[in-house]
Symmetry: C2
Subunit: 417 residues, 2 copies
């Protein structure tokens, strides 16, 4: 038995590292994800009902319903959502990921990131920037106007540039960004810069009105976090390829809906193992404190699941000015993660650790044996919709996720005997 | 006496840190530097005659003479140069700096970087990219065609963008690049990316033919070293402001012409103290070795003189793949430089050292007392003109520069008493 687990895990670790995420297209979500041909919204984290949704996620649902023209006013959207008029499903059930509330609605453009090694495709929305944004549950006119502009004006420009370029190798961009102080979760300044540079020659030659192209470039340029959603889709494309290997104890999903934290295990199919999402510890923006914080939310922990984000913090010492802690903490966080992972990533390396590969392929068994929980660095949302980000910090999954998953594994092994 | 030296040095260190290098313009060298209204070339390092010039510098002189239309063929250019038909002067005598051979000829466009704190301006050429380039002594048709294109097509585009932007704050770009794995001498990938991002909105709106703008963007984008010359001019603008303080023992110039290494001291006026340039130790490109290497050449050690480059290597662990050595060497190189400097830069900080400021303001006395020589990381030129870069590595100034400078200081003090 142990041998077959080792084999299965080695294969999972191999597939994660072998992934070749390639940005291939930017398409309407409904054209990429069949489930969005109905009145449905995808959300971050494990499954959750309207009743149990946290404030920021409810806000984002209301905003998306108005954006899609399903409702005209917040009250109407709320009634529709609570009355069963909108279906909900996790992004993760449809090859997709979304930061914070993670709402994907049918007409939103999504990046299509194809894992050229395994052939699967992952999807993510475009990053809206900072401030008042849907993913933090804001839905006023400025938020919805921006989403419409992103759909109608930004997306066609980016799509044309992506097509003109023949797509972009995101693995190379991430690998370089790790050598430039990013960990590709809360710090994406280098990756965004490199992506912008890669895109620019095609923006400059796009057969589209110059003012629209310039506005698109400005939008990307003004947001150092733009690459986050591409990093997330890259990681999703790698981990989906490693999911579903019988016997593997590798963690292929860590995601939060703001109420529950959920994980999935490669060898345990579609089952989620959940526990209550914790409130991150970190630095708050002026005027805010822990009492304002929503519990941990978003699919962005897919970066940690793939060995980036908190797992790669040693590559990004400057991040401590944002998430708190010391440079030494950034380094030791990464070092600790080698104790619960199976591989050191061949493509993604950390200069400050003498080019050691990022800790990759979390082994459920190691987490339980060592009691070391995966470290996640994350933005902190206000618990009420519409206020937005109030800080950033570090957090961990609730340990019960891992205990429940291990119990399920033991049961399954017993059943097979 | 000691007190007045301390005061003078504190003022020098203050001025270096207070510098606010601002990219203000791109102009023909002859319009910025009066000495270039005659048949004269500026070169890297301390003064040197044609007879004592190394191979790459002679090659660059020949190329520049043809580029300027002073000669039609290399033999003619060589005869002109050796016969006194071309005047030579160090870049450093005219507020300018140039990498490697460092040749600046009258019609070459130069960046004008104004130190807004002190009011002085420093100049540098545009970086030509890698491969066969004039600064390594190459002068075939491809090299000269590129230089003409840079003058006639690239420069007007960049100039328009710089003007449209109202210039660029290079201090901010350098500070950010240090948090993104650059040390701004041999690694400028982040700085170039950030500069490109800053420039892009203005390129996209430049009132110039689209194909020229696109070609200009491509050129910048293809060369991760593009920012080097801007970093050099920034450092020059800071150090010139700190030069000429009576009694100060701060090193304000370190520069090499490929034959001699020369330094200048703030309190010792225009005098150069020189010694033979050493051959750097480092990594060679395939097919080349130390026997191919020209001794240390170029004004780019201005970055180290200002506390960047080799002094900031702890910020740039990935550079060891280029210049050789280990990540630990990068870190200890920086730490060692604190022993010969007077200040920790307030603007330029190193995340990996808990945001400690870069070691700034080299004190001649400390160099002599400790026997620790400044560390310089550098490209290595082939000793024959026209071949180009053959590697990169680390080197040090010859210690006799510092001994000679100290002797001069002692003499001067004696004379004053």
């Amino acid at each position: 038995m142990a041998t077959s687990i080792e084999h299965a895990n080695a294969e999972a670790a191999r597939r994660i590292q072998a992934a070749q995420p390639w940005l291939e297209d930017l398409v309407a979500a409904r054209d990429a994800i069949p489930a969005l041909r109905e009145r449905r919204l995808l959300h971050a984290g494990p499954p959750v009902t309207w009743e149990r949704m946290c404030g920021p996620m409810r806000g984002a649902v209301i905003g998306a319903a108005i954006y899609e023209g399903w409702a005209e006013a917040p009250e109407q959207a709320e009634a529709m959502a609570s009355g069963g008029g909108i279906a909900f499903d996790p992004c993760h059930h449809h090859g997709a990921v979304g930061p914070m509330a993670g709402i994907i609605s049918p007409s939103m453009p999504v990046f299509a990131v194809r894992n050229r090694a395994a052939g699967n495709t992952a999807y993510s929305t475009m990053n809206e920037g900072l401030g008042k944004v849907l993913r933090y549950g804001a839905y006023d006119a400025s938020v919805l106007d921006r989403l419409r502009w992103m759909r109608d004006s930004l997306a066609p420009v980016l799509k044309a540039a992506i097509h003109r370029a023949g797509g972009f190798d995101l693995r190379v961009l991430i690998a370089q960004a790790l050598q430039m102080g990013d960990e590709c979760h809360n710090r994406n300044k280098a990756a965004t810069s490199l992506f912008f540079r890669a895109l620019a020659p095609h923006l400059l030659r796009a057969p589209l009105p110059g003012d629209r192209v310039a506005a698109a470039a400005d939008f990307l340029n003004a947001n150092d976090t733009f690459f986050l959603n591409l990093a997330m889709a890259s990681c999703k494309s790698a981990l989906d390829a490693a999911h579903g290997i019988p016997g593997s104890t590798v963690v292929t999903t860590m995601a939060r809906n703001g109420t529950d934290f959920g994980i999935r295990i490669s060898g345990l199919g579609g089952r989620w193992f959940t526990g209550p999402a914790r409130v991150p510890k970190g630095l708050y923006f002026p005027g805010f404190g822990p009492e304002d914080a929503n519990p941990d939310i978003g699919d962005s922990a897919i970066t940690e699941t793939a060995g980036l984000g908190g797992f790669a913090m040693a590559a990004a010492p400057a991040i401590v000015t944002f998430v708190g802690g010391t440079v030494d903490l950034a380094r030791t966080s990464t070092l600790r993660m080698y104790e619960i992972t199976l591989a050191e990533n061949e493509a993604y390396r950390i200069p400050a650790l003498d080019f050691r590969g990022t800790p990759t392929a979390i082994d459920l068994r190691k987490v339980v044996e060592t009691g070391i929980l995966p470290v996640i660095n994350t933005g902190i949302a206000h618990r009420r919709p519409g206020i937005g980000q109030v800080g950033a910090g570090l957090t961990e999954p609730p340990e019960e996720c891992f205990h429940a998953a291990l119990a399920a594994l033991v049961e399954e092994q017993a059943a097979r005997r």
